[in-house]
Each structure stands twice: as structure tokens, then as C-alpha cells.
């Protein structure tokens, strides 16, 4: 018969709150009445079984909380693993602070070697004359740029009174945004 009641509608009938249409249908449809009786019988049987003694817990599954909880835990563990760094140090991609530091280190090493070789264009930069506007003035300005660049990249701390060195870990230009944490990291390298 068309328009037969679904299980939800039958349950509402058992709960004594059927829709008027469902009641009318039940009076006319023997199949739905039989299904309603079967539902009532099933509920009676379920109730009787559950009122009886439970089986041993070892025969029963864990309550639903574990079934819901384990996938959630697995998902959280996978997410945590994905966030962790893997293995040894990976090559730093271009543009990252690591790559910039490596570049400045290479520049510094090259400049240092040239200085020790005696053919540095800014030779005498650290001499008194160079600071007094001598022939090394332009070179000194270039050196300032390198120092400032290095300081900016490394976040060096401002120099002390007697710390004026070419490749010191301090910055003569006394950067306003110097950060002790970053500077400490640099000094500790």
C-alpha cells in the first residue's frame, strides 16, 4: 500500500504521539499494523534482554567512547608528526634566514681573506687616517654598508665603547630594533 509508515512514524505511534494521518493509515493498512506489532515485540524483547544480566565484560566491546576517541587520537598524532622536523638539517631554501646567514658568512670570509692578503681596497680603513677622511673614506663607507648589512641580517647587538671591529658581532650603527634574543642566538653560533 502506498504511503506506508516508516520506522520513525511507527515509533511515534508507540510513543503515543502519532500524526493524525498516521493513525488513519494504520486503521486501513494491515501491513503497517503488522510492522507496528513487530516493532513493539522487538522493543519488548530488547528490554527483557537488557533487564537481564549482562554478559561478561570480556565478551563485550569497549564503550563507544573508545571507538570515537582512537581515530581522533590518531589524527592528532599524525598532525603532530607532520609538524615535527624530520631527520638532519635540511638545506635552507633561498630567502630564509638560514640562507641569508650562510651568504653573509661567505661574504665575510671572502672579505676577511682579502684583508689579510693586503690587497683590500679599504686597507687602512681601521687606521686612524681612514676615519679622519683620508684616502680610504669611500672604502670606509662601503665597509660601513657591509657592517650594517651584516648587523641587519644577523640582528647584532650595538657595539660597546671599545668594540669597534670590522666583523665583530656587534653593530657600530647601534640598530634601534636590536633584539637580545636574536643577538644571543648570533653570538652563540
Amino acid at each position: 500500500m502506498s504511503g506506508c509508515l516508516g520506522e520513525r512514524a511507527l515509533l511515534r505511534v508507540l510513543e503515543r504521539e502519532p500524526a493524525r494521518r498516521a493513525e488513519a493509515h494504520l486503521q486501513a493498512c494491515t501491513a503497517c499494523r503488522a510492522r507496528l506489532r513487530r516493532l513493539q515485540d522487538d522493543l519488548d524483547h530488547l528490554t527483557a534482554v537488557l533487564h537481564g544480566p549482562p554478559p561478561p565484560l570480556s565478551a563485550l566491546p569497549e564503550p563507544a567512547r573508545w571507538r570515537l576517541g582512537l581515530p581522533a587520537l590518531a589524527l592528532a598524532a599524525a598532525a603532530a608528526l607532520a609538524l615535527l622536523p624530520h631527520g638532519g638539517p635540511a638545506p635552507a631554501p633561498a630567502g630564509t634566514p638560514g640562507a641569508t646567514t650562510a651568504l653573509t658568512d661567505r661574504v665575510a670570509a671572502g672579505l676577511g681573506a682579502a684583508l689579510e692578503g693586503g690587497d683590500a681596497p679599504w686597507r687602512g680603513w681601521s687606521d686612524e687616517g681612514a676615519w679622519n677622511g683620508g684616502s680610504g673614506g669611500a672604502v670606509a663607507a662601503e665597509g660601513d654598508e657591509v657592517t650594517a648589512l651584516r648587523a641587519a641580517l644577523h640582528g647584532a647587538r650595538p657595539c660597546g665603547a671599545d668594540e669597534r671591529m670590522l666583523f665583530a658581532v656587534c653593530d657600530e650603527t647601534a640598530l634601534a630594533d636590536w633584539s637580545p634574543a636574536v643577538a644571543g642566538e648570533e653570538v652563540g653560533r
Binding site: 520506522e7 522493543l43 534482554v49 533487564h51 544480566p53 549482562p54 565484560l57 563485550l60 563507544a64
Partner: protein, 194 residues
């Protein structure tokens, strides 16, 4: 059936020597009367909701402690049956949630399997009946917590839908939805061939 020690609520009353006020005989009598009326029901409900007999017994004692405190300190509810049921359901709910942190805890087991089947049945009938009961209990235990609560309160405890909505603090429509899902799952377990 498991045999749990019958703990009279009077023994939960704080003794006068421990700094508590000695219960008046009338008061003690009323609490004992409440326990006799609802104690077994609370234990059964806790076992349905938790599935663990020893945890259910613990919670039953917890519930009676709250009853005693409420009797002595708080306003007396109009309907002690509903109040006690609500306290028991909430206690089970809390216990299930806190069980997250007790993953390694062992489970007690005091229900002998031999009691699952009716005496006098043939071995085949016993086996079939035992299998069916196991299937039903498994399905019941696998129900989500809210569905288990609603089914237990409606079909095992006999509360009406509006009462369950009040007890659980949810809408009557939600009660019906949970109930329908629980009934569908349990009927499927009943129909399934072993």
C-alpha cells in the same frame, strides 16, 4: 547477576565523632526509605550507562552521598525520583568523560556467562539465545553515550520523552532523534544472523 554489597545510605551519613552532626532518627529513616525506593534502580541505571559493575557500584555510593548532602543542606526537590535519576545520569556522564584519562584501567567482570541463557533449554537453544543476547548487549554498549542514556531512560526506566528532555537538559526533539537511532541500531542487531 552480580552480587554487590548492599550499602545502606545511613552508613554514609557523617558520624558525629568526625565533626558531623548526628542524624536525627527521622532524617535517617527518610534517607533509608529513599534508598530502598531508588537504590537498586540507580545501580541498574549506572550499570546500563557505564557497563562496568564495579564502577556502577562506586557511582551508586557517590549518588547517595549527594542525596544525603541534598537532604541535609539543600532545598528538597519536589520529585526525588527525577532528582536522583538526574544526579545518577550526570555522574555517569562525568565518569565516562573522565575515563579518557584512565585508558589503562582494568575492567571488572563479575557477570557469569552461564546465567545468560534460560535454564532447561536445549544446548542449541542455549547457544542461539546466548548469541542473540550477546549481540544485543554488544550493540547496546556500542551505542553513543547519549543514545544509550535516552534508550535506557525511556525503555528500561520508563520515563516519558518530556521527562527525559528535562533530565538530560536537551530538547524533546533531540530525545526522539536519539531514541529512534538507538532503536534502529538495536533492532538491526536483533535481526542480524550470527
Amino acid at each position: 547477576m552480580c552480587s554487590t554489597p548492599d550499602l545502606a545510605p545511613a552508613s554514609l551519613l557523617p558520624p558525629a565523632a568526625a565533626g558531623g552532626v548526628a542524624p536525627a532518627p527521622a532524617e535517617e529513616g527518610e534517607i533509608v526509605r529513599l534508598e530502598r525506593a531508588h537504590g537498586a534502580r540507580v545501580l541498574r541505571l549506572c550499570r546500563w550507562l557505564l557497563g562496568d559493575p564495579s564502577e556502577a557500584e562506586e557511582l551508586r555510593q557517590e549518588v547517595w552521598l549527594r542525596v544525603v548532602r541534598q537532604w541535609r543542606g539543600g532545598p528538597h526537590p519536589d520529585d526525588w525520583r527525577a532528582w536522583i535519576t538526574r544526579v545518577a545520569v550526570n555522574a555517569c556522564h562525568d565518569r565516562r568523560r573522565s575515563a579518557w584519562w584512565r585508558l589503562g584501567r582494568g575492567r571488572s567482570d563479575d557477570a557469569p556467562a552461564a546465567e545468560l541463557v534460560a535454564r532447561g533449554a536445549s544446548p542449541e537453544e542455549e547457544a542461539a539465545a546466548g548469541e542473540e543476547r550477546l549481540r544485543i548487549w554488544r550493540a547496546f554498549r556500542r551505542l553513543p553515550g547519549r543514545q544509550r542514556e535516552v534508550f535506557a531512560l525511556r525503555h528500561l526506566e520508563g520515563h516519558s520523552t518530556p521527562e527525559i528532555a528535562l533530565l538530560l537538559g536537551i530538547a524533546p526533539g533531540s530525545v526522539k532523534r536519539h531514541l529512534f537511532r538507538a532503536v534502529r541500531t538495536l533492532r538491526a542487531a536483533l535481526r542480524r544472523e550470527s
